[in-house]
Symmetry: C2
Subunit: 274 residues, 2 copies
């Protein structure tokens, strides 16, 4: 029994077991990409999100909301975010994919925004500014904090692979996250599925931390490796996230049914590798 | 003559010359810290920002808006941001202190948010995800992009000082920014005034890049070094940013006059070291 609470991780793994799923659906909702059929609606993005949520909520363990897509709409985007969050049932975790972090008093404001104002269950944060830029998020003991470690994009090679004492920077980030987790119990890592060769090593470094794994689907990451090495010894503590390949599975009026099919297919493919 | 346009840097240095100032005032406006006298107003933070802007706009070359403080207010915070931006005259640059960056299509959304929706002149971004997370911002050729290099907080020691090929990571970041600037012409660096011993070296690495220098004032950075080594050979290309020490100079009804005094004093102190 840990003295730490591990509240978020427990919730995550309970849901993974209950739903027999590692699926995280990313709501990267973009007015330029949603079906034309929705353009007659007074709030097309809200209808889109509602349909996608209803079609996938029993399959998904989490919805990852890409804050950029809402923020870019100005004030109305934040209203959309509020309304979208209200439509998500309690048995699906909500992750603010925000990649924030700043000096302490500023990070505290960001933490309040996402954990109190919007009541997300978890957030993604960026590590460059170090511990005191992340600890204000960790202070919310029932919330999950996924620290960018090895990202899924091409630019991950620019700094994350630089060698520090013979190990890539991203491994240093993972080691520090493991250390912080000893105290806080709510750290996780973002590990892109586009680096299958490094996933196994990272899982060994960060045995007990939940991994949020983007890069499947539109970004072309390797699913088998992501599932095999991204999960813990019990096949849990991991979320495989897909956004565009699910929510834009069809451009037609059948988009919600198509999203459900894509989500179910991915969920089943994931389970085949567990 | 450069083939690049250097539009932002030219604007910055023209304003520095015209106003004989390197001062950047940070609008970290916080409902818990503004004078009680404003609490009878229907929108206390808006009145606060208006008074601070009017009291310091002739002294400041830029206003740095700490997005966290607005975002934490929910929808009303973004309305406050819009209204605040409209009050800033054209001869003061606006910097979104947002510290964003994400995979390419997401960073593009963030760039649109701050450069198009809100029409900021510049932004701060975080480098961990590498070039393709920053290039969508650089694509806006008339906007300035300040990349976090050596930050002013304690946590800067956690990763930024890790040695890569015998040099700290933050120097690698500076070198890459210099390289990117050859193509784009609109890169700058965030360099905290709390590391005076490293400022000179960084200025030699990034001779031509504008520096945004926080850490003066509440954070206790060394002003003389920041000005001497933070500026370029002509005493320009640098913004010395102070937030709390100016905008909260008085808790009384005289807060705007006190902010003006603090801003003028700091502006003059800076000029004494130029």
């Amino acid at each position: 029994m840990n003295s730490r609470k591990d509240i978020f991780k427990s919730r995550l793994n309970t849901l993974i077991e209950k739903k027999n799923s590692l699926l995280c659906v990313g709501l990267d909702s973009d007015i330029q990409r949603i079906p034309k059929a929705l353009m007659n609606e007074s709030d097309p993005l809200l209808v889109f999100n509602r349909e996608i949520i209803q079609a996938t909520q029993d399959l998904a363990v989490a919805f990852k909301i890409n804050i950029a897509f809402y923020e870019s709409l100005g004030t109305s985007g934040w209203e959309l975010l509020e309304k979208t969050l209200r439509m998500i049932p309690g048995d699906v975790l909500t992750i603010a994919d925000a990649k924030r972090a700043d000096i302490g008093n500023t990070s505290r404001k960001y933490a309040e925004t996402f954990f109190q104002t919007y009541q997300f269950d978890a957030i993604t944060v960026t590590p460059y500014m170090g511990f005191d830029s992340i600890s204000p998020f960790l202070d919310f003991e029932d919330k999950g904090v996924f620290i960018l470690c090895l990202t899924s994009n091409e630019g991950s090679k620019d700094f994350q692979y630089l060698l520090v004492d013979g190990e890539p920077l991203y491994v240093q980030v993972a080691r520090r996250a493991v250390e912080w987790n000893l105290t806080y119990g709510n750290c996780g890592l973002v590990v892109g599925a586009t680096h299958p060769e490094d996933m196994e090593f990272l899982r060994n470094v960060a045995t007990g931390l939940p991994f949020l794994i983007p890069g499947i689907g539109a970004q072309g990451g390797d699913l088998a490796t992501a599932v095999r090495f991204g999960t813990d010894a019990e096949g849990k503590s991991a979320l495989i996230s897909a956004s565009r390949s699910i929510i834009y599975a069809s451009e037609g009026a059948n988009f919600a049914a198509a999203a459900r099919d894509a989500a179910r297919t991915l969920k089943e493919e994931i389970n085949r590798f567990r």
